[in-house]
């Protein structure tokens, strides 16, 4: 690593984020196939029967991958400071041409918020998915499955709104960010503008 680069993500995090992303895409595409009876999507997955298995097992991969993110991001994301509230108050500066933004941690307030939302939705969608899949032997199983079906669909609706915005913010809207998911390193100056508190803590 050259002196002007700083490590933002390690190999495991990069790999895990790709696992999470790819499993998400498989889940979303097959989910749309089920929701709207998309025959071509079904064929691409080798038929709706096989798509069901792939959807379910991708869900397991997604849940495990999401669980593994918690070790790295949960404490950071839950640590909301006054600077974070100020950042959110300015909507991240995304609606002004030149905003002076409060200094941010390793994750900015928007990223913290997204992480918490994804984690909660991910837990909800995984648990409800397992209930619908396994239909555990219990009284009122139909009521539980109906409730799970509702929650699963609410969560998936929020996911398909939140994730495109997440991808936009991590690519077009913030050039240079995608490097974190590829090499894991970013220029120190780039990081200092976006994560001043974190860079300072690291002693750069």
């Amino acid at each position: 690593m050259s002196n002007n680069m700083i490590k933002k993500a390690g190999g495991f995090e990069i790999l895990n984020h790709w696992v999470l992303a790819i499993s998400f895409f498989i889940l979303a595409i097959s989910g749309f196939g089920f929701l709207f009876h998309l025959e071509q999507v079904g064929s691409a997955f080798g038929g709706f029967n096989q798509m069901r298995d792939i959807h379910n097992w991708s869900g397991v991969v997604f849940a495990v991958s999401l669980f593994l993110t918690m070790f790295k991001y949960l404490t950071v994301a839950l640590n909301f400071s006054a600077d974070d509230m100020a950042w959110l108050g300015k909507a991240g500066g995304y609606f002004s041409k030149k905003a002076q933004m409060p200094p941010q941690d390793e994750l900015n307030a928007g990223q913290k918020l997204l992480y918490i939302v994804v984690l909660l939705l991910g837990i909800a969608i995984s648990v409800t998915g397992v209930i619908m899949w396994l239909r555990p032997e219990m009284a009122d199983v139909n009521k539980w499955v109906l409730f799970s079906f509702l929650v699963h669909n609410i969560a998936s609706d929020i996911f398909v709104i939140a994730i495109p915005i997440h991808i936009y913010l991590a690519t077009l809207a913030n050039p240079g960010t995608l490097r974190i998911m590829i090499s894991g390193t970013v220029p120190v100056e780039w990081a200092r503008k976006r994560h001043a508190k974190w860079v300072q803590k690291l002693g750069y």
Partner: protein, 253 residues
């Protein structure tokens, strides 16, 4: 052909269960071993191999020893079918030209969501985890034959025909209200009840679960509207504001 239906008149039923046997014979469904539960009703419930059955209801009576109601049960072939609404596999459940809700086991993915969405607790799953239920003898009625159960009924308790004609028949026989006339956009199995549907063991107001209706009307369209909206909003934002530029001069913080 218009929409075809079954009209059940419990007061005409003698409880012979010929309909159960005829159904099994035509559809080649094996017998189900049951045990004496102290009731003439047998088997106790619909199974993957029992598409129809007679529910025996015993009520106190002043004129007889007992008032016995025989209620022939099967898939109701709802006009607005909860099972079809929720099913994620295209073609697994489908509407025939005659209005029956039929199924294709090869296309069924075995998720059992139809079980939760059915207002009448009808769908069952076979040993291969595929849906199994009454299909109104779809291939018989497509060939201008009547279903096995109505064909064999000796008393007219089960009648098959054009739905409107059956409704007219019931009205002429003095039934002001026919169960299933309007519920769920009309049921394909209607009942000429002399008393409240409740005493025959039927739900007064059958309905698809509210959460399924909400999902169908709101959550399902929101999936693609939300996705399209998020992508569109991102593009609009990019055009309006472009990539984020962060002011210099933050180095001291």
């Amino acid at each position: 052909m218009g929409r075809m239906s079954i009209l059940v008149s419990p007061e005409l039923c003698i409880g012979c269960r010929g309909c159960q046997t005829a159904c099994k014979e035509w559809n080649q469904l094996s017998g189900v071993k049951t045990e004496n539960r102290g009731s003439t009703e047998n088997p106790p419930d619909l199974t993957p191999n029992t598409f129809n059955k007679i529910r025996y209801v015993e009520l106190p009576s002043e004129t007889n020893m007992v008032r016995w109601l025989f209620v022939s049960q099967r898939c109701m072939h709802c006009g607005d079918a909860g099972c079809m609404k929720i099913c994620p596999a295209p073609g697994a459940l489908f509407r025939t030209d005659e209005g029956a809700v039929a199924f294709d086991k090869d296309k069924c993915v075995g998720c059992k969501l139809c079980v939760t969405s059915c207002p009448f607790n009808v769908p069952r799953y076979d040993e291969k985890n595929k849906i199994s239920k009454c299909h109104l003898c779809a291939e018989r009625i497509a060939n201008r034959l009547e279903p096995a159960c109505t064909k064999t009924c000796p008393t007219g308790a089960l009648r098959f025909g054009e739905r409107d004609a059956l409704l007219g028949l019931a009205q002429k026989a003095g039934y002001a209200k026919v169960y299933g006339q309007a519920d769920l956009e009309g049921l394909g199995a209607m009942y000429a009840f002399m008393d409240a549907p409740k005493i025959y063991g039927m739900n007064e107001n059958p309905a698809i679960p509210e959460s399924v209706v909400f999902w169908d009307n709101v959550l399902r369209p929101l999936a693609y509207l939300g996705l399209a909206g998020a992508v569109a909003a991102s593009l609009v934002h990019y055009v309006a504001f472009g990539p984020k530029k962060i002011e210099e001069g933050k180095k001291d913080e």
